[in-house]
């Protein structure tokens, strides 16, 4: 009889964390963190960088309640890692609310003028396109986690020393 395999995903409520075992190095070189741990300590809709590659970032976002509206300067992609998130999309009447040269996205005051594009209700593992020229808003009835593929912007939070392993062994 073939063995049953159990696939292990993480969640805010339950995650196991690995780590770096240094042999001849500095653990900080690996910038090691866990998205569920980061989101569990974040405020709703804080954009906390967990990965950075020059101008690009991956942000861990705790989804809880309703976010403000944001408009990306380029396509962004939201991957739900835990929970259920409603993503509301709106075609901007004035794409100029995103100034030329903006990286990442900009927060907008209130709901911007524009036409409703639609809604995506996404759960764990679902990836949603947040298209350039649109604005988006997240809503989550219960806490969840989204990973956002984007560029570092004015609202990206970098607190590496708080979220990353710095010791030569993972904490037990």
């Amino acid at each position: 009889m073939a063995p049953q395999h159990t696939t292990r995903f993480g969640s805010l409520e339950r995650y196991d964390k690995g780590g770096v075992e240094v042999i001849n190095d500095d653990a900080r070189n690996y910038v090691f963190s866990n998205v569920f741990e980061v989101a569990s300590r974040a405020k709703p809709y804080e954009k906390v960088a967990v990965g950075k590659n020059i101008e690009y970032v991956i942000e861990a976002i705790r989804t809880e309640g309703t976010s403000g509206w944001r408009a990306p300067a380029q396509d962004e992609f939201a991957l739900v890692m835990d929970g259920e998130v409603e993503i509301r999309l709106l075609k901007l009447d004035n794409p100029g609310v995103v100034p030329a040269g903006t990286r990442g996205s900009v927060g907008l005051p209130g709901a911007p003028p524009g036409r409703k594009m639609g809604v995506v209700r996404a759960r764990r593992g679902h990836m949603t396109l947040l298209p350039v020229g649109a604005a988006y808003q997240f809503h989550a009835a219960r806490p969840g986690v989204v990973l956002l593929q984007t560029l570092a912007g004015a609202d990206t939070i970098e607190r590496w020393a708080d979220i990353c392993q710095t010791s030569a062994r993972p904490k037990a």
């Binding site: 395999h5 696939t7 292990r8 995903f9 993480g10 995650y15 196991d16 964390k17 690995g18 780590g19 770096v20 075992e21 240094v22 042999i23 001849n24 190095d25 070189n29 690996y30 910038v31 090691f32 963190s33 866990n34 998205v35 569920f36 990965g51 950075k52 590659n53 020059i54 690009y56 991956i58 380029q74 396509d75 962004e76 992609f77 890692m81 993503i87 999309l89 075609k91 036409r115 594009m117 639609g118 809604v119 995506v120 209700r121 996404a122 764990r124 593992g125 679902h126 990836m127 949603t128 396109l129 649109a134 990973l147 593929q149 984007t150 560029l151 970098e158 020393a161 990353c164 993972p170």
Partner: protein, 330 residues
């Protein structure tokens, strides 16, 4: 030392050897195989690798277009991508071979080395052996020449232009399209996001189940592009058993473990000296610095998000020391 080979060699011997396999030459390198091993010879020395391991590494090197940086087949033989040309080397990233003066390297245009490698993979892969599959999901690579498996070694490489499932882009996977859920992922939900698009916006309100998509991957250790944010590429892959190459970085690379667990052995890129072991569980994020090489071990099939920055200027920035090898200083 590195030589540049401009001449076009013959693809391979016309007559097979007594095991049924053709022999291939590339500059000063000669490749031959017998029932168990691939033999690599160069002017100063020679080396042998198990045929299955060699073909798995060769398959990745070809499929990835020689990838970012260095693809070590093992501690001796491999390639360095210069994005237009490729170095084939022996002992170049092995401190002991270098000290003994036994290392050798030659540069070839990418189409030339690609052509020879593809011919070698085609000739040396027997019927029933799939170099992309996990060991439990394929037959043996060993024995005398026994047919071929062109279908397995010429798979389409997934490279989304915007996002998987977006209009005109790479399609989703399904039973009907020949991608059943893998035996290790039968418990992965196959639900789809609820997408409600207003009229006229059907092409822009787009979502898909990435985890379900990955659960249907029929290959291992083969990063494929699923979303593109300028030069930021999400390249998730499903991993089982051992990464068939030791990947040497020419830029920073990031990993996000989406499910299960992988352990990474991390070594100095140039000498092979061990630097660290990184254990990644679901939700963990780690950078692989630009001056290391790494090899992963995945006891159960797992989902790994490989995140790449494809900016073409990066190798030179790191090589010149203008960029530190680690992505964040804190």
């Amino acid at each position: 030392m590195s030589q540049r080979t401009e001449t076009v060699p013959e693809i391979g011997s016309i007559e097979p050897n007594r095991h049924g396999y053709r022999t291939f030459t590339l500059g000063g390198f000669t490749f031959s195989r017998d029932e168990y091993f691939a033999h690599v010879a160069w002017p100063k020395s020679h080396h042998m690798l198990p045929a299955d391991a060699f073909l798995r590494a060769l398959q990745r090197d070809i499929a990835w277009g020689f990838f970012y940086g260095i693809v070590n087949f093992d501690a001796v033989v491999g390639t360095v991508n210069h994005y237009g040309s490729v170095d084939l080397f022996a002992g170049r990233f092995n401190e002991h071979y270098r000290k003994a003066g036994l290392d050798h390297s030659e540069r070839f245009t990418t189409p030339l080395i690609q052509r020879v490698f593809e011919a070698m993979l085609d000739d040396w892969t027997n019927a029933g052996f799939d170099p992309f599959a996990s060991p439990q999901e394929t037959g043996s690579a060993f024995g005398p020449k026994n047919g071929g498996n062109k279908e397995a070694i010429t798979r389409h490489r997934v490279t989304a232009k915007r996002m998987i499932g977006a209009p005109g882009d790479e399609p989703l996977r399904s039973d009907e399209s020949g991608f059943p859920v893998n035996r290790h992922f039968r418990d992965v939900p196959q639900d789809t996001p609820e997408v409600i698009a207003e009229p006229g916006f059907e092409d822009e309100v787009v979502a898909f189940n990435l985890f379900a998509y990955l659960s249907r991957s029929d290959v291992t250790w083969n990063p494929s592009i699923v979303s593109v944010c300028k030069a930021s590429l999400y390249c998730p892959t499903t991993e089982e058993y051992i990464l068939p190459v030791i990947h040497g970085n020419d830029r920073v690379e990031w990993f996000v473990q989406l499910s299960d667990e992988i352990q990474w052995e991390v070594e100095d890129r140039d000498t092979g000296a061990v630097r660290a072991r990184v254990t990644m569980k679901a939700g963990d994020v780690a950078a692989m610095p630009a001056d290391i090489r790494h090899r992963g071990f995945s006891p159960k099939r797992s989902m790994l998000l490989v995140w790449e920055n494809a900016s073409p200027e990066l190798p030179q920035l790191y090589a010149s020391g203008k960029m530190p090898p680690s992505p964040v200083q804190f």
